[in-house]
Symmetry: C2
Subunit: 250 residues, 2 copies
């Protein structure tokens, strides 16, 4: 199964100015109602029949726009990632400190995801399985994953402490994985306002920033090489389209 449904608008750099067709409106209505129901009843307890009824369409039509329940989840991922990245831009601009940027960006992710806290865990479960086309390391996910890594490239870009070019090449990927981990912690966190996840974030960001600084010191060559080798190993274990071109970009 592949996850790109037929009438799915490619939300890339394509023309978003065209006025929506009737079908698109229907599609969005179904999606919106599904998210509401997921939030109020949870993912598992929300049935496709409920979604269709709520959106005032027939079940079969729901399946026309979203060929499976998973496709709704995938659409959520895309929308969420897109919104999260947009909201991160001013946060990155606000400070050059790596630690502040990292905390800020992940906090932004928490804030963006807050309305969905109740069902994010269930989505994650659907997505965690290597068998699922939704898992973050699958090829269906490539686009979303790449935009996430790209976000952390901007976090690293021009930050303090300064990072060497070789580190700057691997670090975005590592930070993206850190971001995923924080997401997982946040989902599990039922403390008020997810304060525990936030405390964890602050402590981790401090440690990461310290390690990055340390890895640039002259005496840390062995550590740096080991870390880079490790990151490279992880990255190449994943069906990434290609290692980031160290060419004319930036």
């Amino acid at each position: 199964m592949t996850l790109s449904a037929a009438p799915e608008p490619q939300t890339g750099a394509a023309p978003a100015t065209r006025q929506p067709t009737k079908g698109q409106l229907t599609r969005e209505r179904i999606y919106a109602r599904a998210m509401e129901l997921f939030a109020s009843n949870g993912y598992e307890k929300t049935t496709m029949r409920m979604i269709a009824e709520s959106a005032q369409v027939n079940v079969a039509l729901s399946y026309h726009y979203f060929p499976s329940k998973e496709h709704l989840v995938f659409a959520f991922y895309r929308n969420f990632t897109s919104e999260f990245i947009d909201r991160s831009a001013p946060v990155i601009a606000a400070s050059a400190r790596l630690e502040a940027r990292l905390v800020g960006v992940v906090e932004t992710m928490f804030a963006t995801a807050a309305p969905y806290h109740s069902f994010a865990g269930s989505l994650f479960a659907t997505a965690a399985s290597p068998a699922s086309p939704l898992n973050p390391f699958s090829s269906d996910f490539t686009e979303i994953r790449d935009s996430g890594i790209e976000l952390f490239r901007r976090v690293v870009d021009g930050c303090t402490p300064r990072v060497s070019a070789e580190v700057a090449e691997e670090l975005p990927f590592l930070l993206w994985m850190f971001d995923l981990s924080m997401m997982y912690c946040w989902m599990h966190d039922h403390s008020a306002h997810q304060e525990k996840a936030r405390a964890l974030l602050r402590q981790s960001a401090r440690l990461i920033s310290g390690l990055v600084r340390f890895s640039s010191s002259p005496g840390a060559g062995s550590f740096r090489r080991q870390l880079l080798a490790l990151s490279s190993l992880i990255r190449t274990s994943i069906p990434l389209p290609a290692p980031p071109p160290a060419g004319p970009a930036t």
Copy 2:
């Protein structure tokens, strides 16, 4: 829902010498057939009806012993963990080097899990959700998780490089989480014989061992304190029964 089914034998320090009742044999037959079917058809494609038919019992009886499909997964976890831990003992005895022990123990986990590689991912998905009583941080999972952490306590115990008492208190938990991560990588790894996951393991173990050594050096007090604080934060975010008693136990 709680996961301890009624006729489930408590495999603790309880008398395992008693001869199995007829019901226990049936239970084990159902379980064994389920695992075979999972391995050959995958988790999702194996139906409860198939399992019952294969074990030559009625579906309702299957549900008597395993009130849900998830209960089969939970039984698998318990058995797997138990076998994995048993097989790890000689590995720990074989070397005092932390790096060698770490590689050896995780390799043992890979070897123990090898027969289930095809469906381990699906089980993991069922288990990853915070909503699932199967997730590794849930209270149902406490016993299994504790035995895992205890295993890594033995890995750390008496190892070289020497670790200070305060590090030795947190390190087993961190290594257990590392073990979980490696499991996740291994599941995703479809290279021949999961060679990529093994390469990752060797590289990670080297780095971890280096970091442990470094953290014990006099100049690394700040790094060590930060790492300990982080570990403690993570650990206390989890419904652990209690922080490990620093009392009379070895």
